[in-house]
């Protein structure tokens, strides 16, 4: 690594790294692109585990008591373990690594025009910690007593006392894995923020930064500002479990509600932490495929700041009926409903971007538009749950479940597919197959709605969450509701089968796809000005930026795009 001082010149610098051995190139890389892909692949493997868990417990719900093919019998303890770890994996080990760490790593240096992260080795370390955390989580499924089954919120005393949870080491390894994961993203986050603050290409002003980078950075800052109390809480919970302190145990003077506050003070900003990167990715895609300038760049940016700021004062809406002071609920209702204001503005801006555009429905665009459509449903149903009195009926019901899957599924899965299909040519230098991409899109989007729309109605019928078998609740054990459950499960199986199309397309295109040009989508941002895939060191010469990232269809120009680093024409 340590090259002589001659490396000041960037072109020679890039060539120094060509002779890296396989070990240093792919196993212990310092190149941000490889680390980004490590995150993405790890996240996708974890997504397969999370999806498998979802399959197992949905099958149990639809056909209670029967052997689930490819899994076996799902008992009550196992059911709890499956739902808990499905939630944990999908949020902490899929959404976070793929959207923030993965695409953040891949895109930030490319989009702001520099050769790597500011601290490449810190970057590698954060991935390694992340990998360890994933392994610890997987290990927790196999210890005596099984994996942790106290819901991903892990409310004590259930999570802190082994006699209550019956998963002595499962619970401890779970909290350990989560804490390690936080440490990993704290380190990664510091790197991201520093890189985008300090290492921007010459000429790139604050308002020339692509929205995707902006939003990832805002998300990382939100994460860093909210996770601290929960890290402290995780230490306290771990000591409750292993040493026998009573931080969260009322009989010893502690308070179980304190954990809920610590958790949701992090947990609510966390929603925006994973939401913002996807919103940024969608902004990139809709501008490219409608050949339009983003409507109101500043407005979009400020609404993101407003959302981030507001997200710190809404956390107690998860606890309206958890025994908190009922007067506080009014305050938190107001702040929660207020969040609709910046987000509505942002959605309006995105839709206004399409106005007068020249929309081409390529696969990434389909994903981006479907994100907007699905997220609209997720967003508006959030209003119900922000209203404290509605929460009296909906708390912990399938309505909540359907709502947050309508936000998290678009964010995580749709956002991931949008980004993967859009940047695939840049990552691997080959194009993905459009037809298969579209088949996969419709095969995912339609079943997704078929899974979660019916669950809203189950929620209206009063069905509560995390129940392995509804036969103990006669009002819920009716044939009509059971049919809805079966319908949702069948849709899930259909959706999972269609993922095979994607996996096939992904790997076949990676090796056999059509060669991708530098700029297949005619986009403006800096990553498209260099070869696909980019070499180590990215840019031959550090680019100079002359304009904002969304100058599409500028009147008076022949080409309908105008790369950020293209010098203005002399008149």
């Amino acid at each position: 690594m340590s090259q002589a001082a001659a490396a000041v010149q960037t072109d020679t610098h890039a060539e120094h790294h060509e002779e890296l051995s396989f070990l240093y190139k792919y196993i212990l890389p310092v190149d941000h692109k490889i680390i980004g892909m490590q995150y993405i692949f790890t996240g996708m493997i974890m997504a397969i585990i999370g999806g498998y868990f979802a399959y197992a417990f949905r099958m149990q719900l639809a056909f209670p008591g029967e052997l689930v093919p490819l899994y076996g019998l799902v008992g009550p303890g196992e059911y709890n373990m499956l739902v808990t770890n499905h939630g944990t994996i999908m949020i902490f080990w899929v959404a976070m690594p793929v959207l923030i760490a993965g695409f953040g790593n891949y895109l930030i240096p490319l989009m702001i025009g520099c050769d790597d992260m500011v601290f490449p080795r810190l970057n590698r370390l954060s991935y390694q910690i992340f990998l360890v955390s994933a392994l610890v989580l997987i290990a927790s499924f196999f210890v005596r007593g099984g994996g942790f089954g106290g819901a991903w919120t892990s409310y004590p005393p259930l999570s802190s006392v082994a006699e209550y949870s019956l998963t002595d080491w499962g619970a401890s390894l779970w909290i350990l894995a989560v804490a390690l994961e936080f440490v990993s993203f704290l380190l990664g986050g510091i790197n991201f923020v520093t890189t985008s603050m300090n290492a921007r290409a010459p000429g790139m002003k604050m308002l020339d930064i692509p929205i995707a980078v902006w939003f990832i950075v805002v998300a990382v800052i939100l994460f860093m500002a909210s996770v601290g109390p929960l890290v402290a809480g995780a230490v306290m919970l771990f000591m409750d479990q292993r040493i026998g302190t009573t931080f969260f145990l009322p009989s010893g003077g502690g308070d179980p509600l304190l954990w809920q506050h610590l958790f949701w003070f992090f947990g609510h900003p966390e929603v925006y932490v994973v939401l913002l990167p996807t919103l940024g990715i969608v902004a990139e895609i809709i501008t490219v495929f409608s050949r339009k300038k983003l409507f109101g760049y500043r407005t979009v940016l400020y609404t993101a700041f407003a959302t981030g700021g507001l997200s710190f004062v809404v956390w107690a809406h998860h606890q309206f009926i958890a025994g908190i002071d009922p007067r506080m609920a009014n305050v938190f209702t107001v702040t929660t409903v207020l969040i609709s204001i910046p987000l509505a503005e942002m959605m309006f801006s995105y839709i206004a971007t399409l106005y007068g555009g020249s929309i081409e429905l390529k696969t990434p665009m389909l994903w981006a538009l479907s994100f907007i459509a699905a997220f609209l449903i997720g967003g508006v149903t959030g209003i119900y749950l922000g209203a404290s009195a509605m929460d009296v009926y909906f708390h912990d019901s399938y309505f909540v479940l359907a709502h947050f899957h309508y936000t998290f599924f678009p964010i995580t899965i749709i956002g991931m597919f949008a980004a993967l299909t859009y940047w695939f040519p840049k990552m691997f230098g080959r194009m993905m197959n459009e037809t298969l991409g579209k088949i996969h899109f419709w095969g995912t989007f339609i079943p997704f709605n078929c899974i979660f729309l019916p669950l809203f109605f189950l929620g209206l019928a009063g069905q509560h969450r995390r129940i392995y078998n509804y036969e103990h609740f006669p009002d819920l054990a009716t044939q009509e509701l059971q049919n809805i459950r079966i319908f949702a499960t069948v849709s899930l199986v259909v959706m999972l089968i269609f993922q095979l199309v994607f996996i096939y397309n992904f790997f076949v295109s990676m090796f056999k796809g059509k060669k991708a040009p530098n700029n297949p989508w005619n986009a403006n941002t800096l990553e498209w000005t260099i070869p696909s895939p980019p070499q180590h060191g990215n840019f031959k010469d550090l680019p100079t930026v002359y304009r904002g990232p969304y100058e599409y269809s500028v009147p008076g120009r022949e080409k309908d795009y105008w790369p950020q680093n293209e010098p203005p024409e002399e008149n």
């Binding site: 001082a5 890189t195 300090n198 290492a199 601290g228 109390p229 402290a232 302190t245 931080f247 060191g537």
Partner: protein, 193 residues
């Protein structure tokens, strides 16, 4: 200073060098970790949770000596930074090792305190106050140990003549550890009402 690693490391659009900027972000997130613990402690204390009167059992003298030790080590690390800016590697090396020595004395006194408390039956599970006492000071001590290890590594680095800027970075971190102690000291040792 030698030039290696990516160019990105050496760019500075904000005017603050990347290393220092990163340390500040690190400290901002550390504020939340310690702040979260301290907030919980204050919540329970103001609530009059039984057991918090045990704050009078902590040894103010030991706490005060530890404060003195940490303040002095803070001084020596900042002097190390001042020395390295003048290019005086030997002096800087010596000051860094004074600081590490301060850390050792601090941990020694901490150990003595812990031992005394445990002998008197004030173990971590006795009540919430002692739980917080051991958790907060323990987490702080882990930061002290981490700082000392990194400092030792850096000291050999600068003796060989590279990475001078790291003295300032570890210094900022060490001052932060000192700052945390400045707040833990009144919380755990003085405010026993």
């Amino acid at each position: 200073m030698s030039m290696h690693g990516p160019i990105a490391t050496h760019r500075s659009a904000t005017g603050v060098p990347s290393g220092r900027l990163a340390i500040w972000w690190l400290l901002a997130s550390e504020i939340f970790i310690f702040g979260g613990l301290v907030t919980c402690f204050v919540l329970f204390k103001l609530n009059g949770t039984p057991g918090f009167e045990d704050a009078s059992l902590t040894s103010t003298a030991a706490g005060a000596i530890n404060t003195f030790v940490l303040l002095t080590s803070s001084l020596s690390i900042v002097l190390a930074h001042a020395a390295i800016e003048k290019g005086d590697r030997v002096k800087s090396f010596r000051y860094i090792w004074y600081t590490i020595g301060g850390g050792v004395v601090f941990l020694g006194i901490k150990t003595y305190e812990y031992t005394g408390k445990i002998i008197h039956g004030h173990v971590i599970t006795e009540n919430l106050f002692w739980s917080f006492y051991y958790t907060m000071t323990g987490l702080h001590a882990l930061h002290v140990i981490g700082g000392m290890v990194i400092m030792a590594l850096i000291s050999f680095d600068i003796r060989k003549g590279h990475n001078y800027q790291r003295v300032e970075l570890i210094g900022i971190y060490w001052h932060f550890v000192d700052l945390v102690w400045i707040f833990l000291f009144p919380l755990l040792y003085i405010a026993n009402f």
